[in-house]
Symmetry: C2
Subunit: 229 residues, 2 copies
């Protein structure tokens, strides 16, 4: 028998093991379901099916549909803010903005459902995200705005409104997750693949960097990145 300290540490590590696992599993499957139909359009029965569990089990862990939805949202929010990390005054503007755009495009591709849930929430007035928008996000944008104003004051990039620049970057990158159906229809392909994401990233990089009066290290000329079909 292990000593009491060891057992206690093991206990606390073990305690709620099932709970943590189930909560994570339900939140992840719910993200996909909410992305497909929005909060109002997703039924508890559908969420239960998505998780492969009986409805009552979801209520056991989350109480209400709204609390489950909030858990999904909170799981997503950190992603948004953390992407902005590359934007620091020490880095060169082109490099920092480029890294930010690449990170955002990467998230659109890796976590399209998260982006859609977020977009849906904002679209309908952000009733569950007011605090996040007016505090965390606003603060973070103000902080990064100062970095960009510092670059502009130092003559390192053109005079662009930093806040509207962020709006533009968010819009252009997130649209690859949120409006993928429209893109697939226009491009005539079944799914957005590496070719489409690369072409999109090149375009966004080009617009932002040239728009800010910065150089692009654009080596691949002829590439157009359409889909084959």
């Amino acid at each position: 028998m292990p000593g009491k300290q060891a057992a206690s540490a093991e206990e606390t590590a073990n305690a709620g093991r099932i709970r943590r696992g189930q909560v994570l599993h339900i939140v992840e499957s719910a993200e996909r379901a909410f992305a497909e139909a929005g909060f109002a359009g997703t039924t508890m029965t559908r969420l239960a099916e998505a998780a492969g569990l009986p409805k009552a089990n979801l209520h056991y862990y989350f109480g209400t549909k709204e609390k489950l939805y909030r858990a999904v949202l909170e799981n997503i929010l950190t992603l948004w803010l953390d992407d902005m990390a590359p934007i620091v005054p020490e880095r060169a503007p082109a490099e920092a903005l480029g890294a930010y755009i690449r990170a955002k495009m990467g998230h659109s591709r890796a976590r399209p459902h998260a982006s859609k849930v977020f977009a849906n929430e904002i679209l309908h007035g952000a009733p569950h995200l007011r605090g996040f928008l007016t505090h965390e996000l606003r603060r973070r944008v103000a902080e990064k705005t100062r970095v960009i104003e510092h670059w502009i004051a130092g003559g390192r990039m053109a005079q662009v409104d930093p806040v509207h620049l962020f709006f533009a970057i968010w819009a252009m990158t997130q649209t690859y997750a949120d409006f993928d159906v429209q893109m697939r229809a226009v491009l005539g392909c079944a799914a957005l693949g590496t070719a489409e994401y690369d072409a999109g990233e090149q375009t966004v990089l080009r617009l932002v960097l040239h728009g800010c009066g910065l150089e692009t290290n654009d080596t691949n000329e002829g590439e157009q990145g359409r889909c084959r079909s």
Copy 2:
């Protein structure tokens, strides 16, 4: 007494007068309601309240909630395609793209509800717009893509992927209608006014035109277009 022909013409003009008026009124008020909560989140009772009519009256004119929703969508679609009219080979690229961007920004400001209903529909897989996306929109984009390729071939603008350029313009302009809550929170203002729309338009114009290697006739330097509060 007017002659039979005159009376008949008057009749046909008059026939369905009430119907046309009510249908238009219901569709317009429903656009706002659907924009606020999406298709699933909007109840027939809410739609009836928005129109100031009893629920049964809406069913008299549209039959089902879905048919009313489709009527709202169809009312919106023409807007999207018509905006692309300025893009013709005869015009200078900067002028044509500038006019297009201004038209799209104007619609975001004038018809934000229409934009939100459209965005919500695409976000959830466009179940009612598949045909529009894969036929009308696709054809129109292909047509305008040829114009841009013509400009590029003539050395009149930089080599930018035309389709992804459209995606970028759509995203940047529509975000001013769709994500207004986020913008208001970040900017700290109660509503997006002329100052914010002007700053946004300047930013979008700058990114697109510089991104395409075109000149901007940017005369207003110091303007930053924040809100006062």
